[in-house]
Amino acid sequence: MGRYILKRLWHTVYVVVGISVIAFFFIHLSGDPVMLMLPADASHQEIEELRQQLGFNDPLYVQYWRFASKALQGDFGESLYYHVPAMELILERLPASLELALAAMAVALLVAVPLGILSAVKRGSFIDLGSMLGALFGLSMPHFWLGIMLILLFSVKLGWLPTSGRGGWEHLIMPSLALGMSLMAMFARLTRSVMLEVLGQDYVRTARAKGLKERLVIGKHALKNALIPLVTVAGMQFGFLIGGTVIIETVFAWPGVGRLVVQAIFNRDYPLVQATVLVLAVLFVLVNLLVDLLYVYLDPQISYLEEK
């Protein structure tokens, strides 16, 4: 188990280094950053001086090393638009994005898991067909369109919920539902198929033969084993949520990191884009690491097989 964790940590380190290389090169692909920092009428001498001062004349690997060492200390430079440290802006907005992503994940799991179990247990019933048809539509709906439809119905027509912004729980309902819908559909289908497979296993048959109550058979024996693939997929989908917040935050004017990065792109605020991308990607890698470790806990065979 220890060796597996070490291996996973090493994997995390090189992935983070890889991501930082990509994020670093964005600045260089986007043109001369010095030109973005100085007014359009700056003289050649001023440009050259600033370039020298900021070290842009150094070889690329020296510049990357400098960027990486600063990034490690949380210093991503200053936003060209807001004139404050990029990290400060990100940390200010991150809680809002995490709140939205976690709420979406919670909504998806709370609806999908019971629905998936019910569909598997009552296979071929009206509930099964209805929920699987619903899941198919849920998977086919772009989440930002669902967001707009929810606004049209619950804010514009019925006036029940606020159209945008962050505040109390009522602000969270529509964005989390819109963001979580396709995950809900995916989880419901997955839970159903895994439960169907598990319910056919010998140990479930044995549990039933022992005369255990059906609720115990499903809740204790079947569900625990069905949870393993669900945890993996839920963890992997966290990346989807991070990506998804970019659009949903724009639809609902949610003051999170996703909206910040979209605005930064339009403002050509590359240091902020670079910092946001790097922070979100590292966050995603860390969540994946946590999920993998949780996976080992849920299924001890994994670490055993890896070590073998």
């Binding site: 090189y14 890889g18 707009i148």
Partner: protein, 297 residues
């Protein structure tokens, strides 16, 4: 020649079985017919609906669909804030979505097949490098990767296809690599090897035809995802540039008039949903046909 036929036989048998299975799958037939209809309409509509999607008629701005009070048959699905015909814009938008969706998948598949084949077949350091790069790409949230590249490269239909394709190669490369690793151990590949057949020939004749079926399923599912991402990028203003109508931009523009003109935010989204639904239905049928273990699930 005989060995070539022998190598192709399992692949051909699989395709024939898949087709037969597909015809039996209700979801595949419904999805396939829907998709054919959508593609057919998108290719032929100028013949029977020759309306300019860019023509403005400010006198007829925000006209509701024909079935609603104030609507007219001249604009069956109504008009937008500049008096442009919504149906014509949806029809033209379908071309962008389908073109970007299918072309990006082709780019991603081409990249994924080459890298997955090389990585799986040759193994060693090449495999290690390709897979480590794949890990980095996998760790990068897809939407962030695409918008940050688009932000740097600029938005054109070509860049969009390229970026979406490049961002999506990993899934294919991993699938191909897995299939190649399994095929390398098969008798017919080992036999070809011991007969002195060149690696490139083994890959082309014996391995490639046998790895295409999982890629077909994956490609179908990914077209749906790419169309959603394309419309999302368009919605954010990072898709195909104006004046070309796209479903995503129609939604973004329509959002300003959400309280007066429901059709501007509803109908383009319905078009996206129906297209994705058709592809998902076909994908489900294909998956069941190609993976018999999933048939009863």
């Amino acid at each position: 020649m005989t060995s070539r036929v022998a190598a192709l036989a399992p692949a051909l048998r699989l395709w024939a079985e898949t087709l037969a299975e597909l015809r039996r799958s209700r979801s595949a037939v419904v999805g396939g017919v829907m998709l054919l209809l959508i593609v057919g309409i998108s290719l032929t509509f100028p013949l029977y609906y020759p309306v300019d999607p860019l023509a403005q008629d400010l006198m007829a701005r925000l006209t509701p669909p024909a079935w609603q009070a104030g609507g007219s048959l001249a604009h069956p699905l109504g008009t937008d804030n500049l008096g442009r015909d919504v149906l014509a814009r949806i029809l033209y938008g379908s071309r962008v979505s389908l073109l970007v969706g299918f072309s990006s998948v082709l780019v991603a598949e081409a990249l994924g097949i080459v890298l997955g084949l090389v990585s799986g077949y040759y193994g060693g350091r090449t495999d290690s490098i390709v897979m480590r790069v794949a890990d980095v790409f996998m760790a990068y949230p897809f939407m962030l990767l695409t918008i940050s590249i688009i932000a740097v490269l600029g938005n054109s239909i070509f860049n969009l296809i390229l970026v979406l394709g490049i961002s999506d190669w990993v899934t294919y490369a991993r699938t191909v690599r897995g299939s190649v690793l399994a095929l390398k151990e098969k008798e017919f590949v080992k036999a070809a090897h011991s007969l002195g057949t060149r690696n490139r020939t083994i890959i082309r004749r014996h391995i490639l035809p046998n790895i295409l079926s999982p890629l077909l399923v994956l490609g179908t599912v990914r077209v749906a995802n790419i169309i959603i991402w394309e419309s999302g990028l368009s919605f954010l203003g990072m898709g195909v540039p104006p004046p070309q109508p796209t479903w995503g931009r129609m939604l973004a523009e329509g959002r300003m008039y959400i309280s007066d003109a429901w059709w501007l935010v509803t109908l383009p989204g319905l078009a996206i949903m129906l297209t994705i639904l058709a592809i998902n239905l076909l994908g489900d049928g294909l998956r069941d046909a190609l993976d018999p273990r999933l048939r009863n699930v």
